[in-house]
Subunit: 243 residues, 2 copies
């Protein structure tokens, strides 16, 4: 009987393949089994980052989301569909590990920071060897693109999701020095209103596709009505102590 294989949650960073860590690159280069999430019918962003970097003959295991934005987040059907999906993906990885195979699971950004891999991790870690390789977060990629330091001295940084209710967004935007808002997409107008209410809109930037070829940097106040991806990032830089 084989020893169980290790399941790696491999953080790839914000999108530029050169921002991958040496460890991620080493594990990827020798991986015989490579798994990744994607929308049905799409190549998948994580898979795209590693294009040309897989070992010859590596077996690919796409895991296709049953729903993403078609069902509302607060609809119980959403949770039910996703929990069945994650259970099934975890079963596939478990079977590979039981057969003695290591599997690299490709993760955009940092796996433990709002990542989909966490839903597999919690289903696997108690029974199978799992290792997580941290990575450059999408937000680090985004603030580097702005060409301005993000946080200074004692600055408080708050990370918010565009999916949150507007009053909660406003409260945190008022009380924090530096701000990151993720999961923007169709929430962009709500996020802009909340920043305006909190008096922070003038300092806000929108970054699309940070560190990728399609990268765009804009002042949020200038892009009324823009259709922006779900993975866009809004940033307000801290202005704290600096000698």
């Amino acid at each position: 009987m084989n020893a169980p294989g290790t399941l790696y949650g491999l953080g790839l960073g914000p999108g530029d393949p050169e921002l991958m860590s040496l460890r991620a690159h080493r594990l990827l280069g020798k991986a015989r089994h490579v798994a990744y999430f994607r929308k049905a019918g799409r190549p998948g962003q994580a898979r795209r980052i590693v294009e040309g970097m897989l070992a010859p003959g590596a077996l690919e295991h796409p895991m296709e989301y049953p729903v993403t934005t078609e069902i509302a987040l607060d609809d119980p059907a959403y949770n039910l569909a996703l929990s069945g999906f994650y259970a099934e993906c975890a079963a596939r990885l478990r079977a590979l590990s039981d057969a003695g195979h290591d599997v690299v699971v490709l993760c955009e950004g940092d796996p433990f920071f709002y990542g989909s891999f966490m839903h597999l991790y919690t289903r696997l870690v108690d029974t199978h060897p799992v290792e997580v390789v941290p990575a450059v977060t999408g937000m680090s990629g985004a603030w580097t693109v702005t060409g301005q330091p993000m946080t200074w001295g004692d600055d408080v940084l708050t990370v918010l999701m565009g999916t949150l209710p507007e009053p909660r967004l406003v409260r945190h935007m008022r009380d924090s020095d530096a701000l990151v808002v993720m999961k923007i997409g169709r929430h962009i107008d709500k996020v802009r209103r909340a920043l305006a209410t909190a008096g922070r809109l003038e300092q806000a930037w929108l970054v699309e596709f940070a560190t990728m070829p399609a990268q765009k940097l804009m002042r949020l106040r200038d892009v009324q009505g823009r259709v922006t991806p779900y993975f866009s990032t809004v940033l307000v830089h801290g202005q704290g102590r600096r000698p």
Copy 2:
């Protein structure tokens, strides 16, 4: 006359050399000039991360802090000493760039996230070519070490400095789902009290030397009176939506 050299703010990540990015590794391997901050008489943490990775014959430019914890942060003498120091470091880098030399400036963590390099960046970027290479943050290293995902679904994450006044710490600790507290050191008892007041102490972890050989993971409630480094991290994980 030479074209001016490029000054790279090179993020190295939390401490494990294998968490450096491919880009950082490539730039480091061909660098003829390598600069880094350190305390007088110490090897310097950034320099230690790259031990054995510099090109043969690379010239090293240590930049030694005139003060760190000897003067209180709110003493005007602290700002004066540091601003003179940063001006002098910037002048050294400017002279190297003007002579046509590229210089790699080693940075722990991510350069734009509470990094010392930012003080040089703002003094250089208007007149000289400067590029920043983002990296795995110290906090990503720390939460990976805990073996628990940090933020889920709509979780709000707030990053706080242990140097902040206790009432402000308490307010944010009450109002945020996930918490990171950095710059701990002699502030550890204040941070513990603030977490207890906010009802979050039971869930708090202390990570020392994340991803490095001396790495330690402890429950904060269990380490009353511990002497911990300034660069320790306290974490409270988010518990948000998960299918």
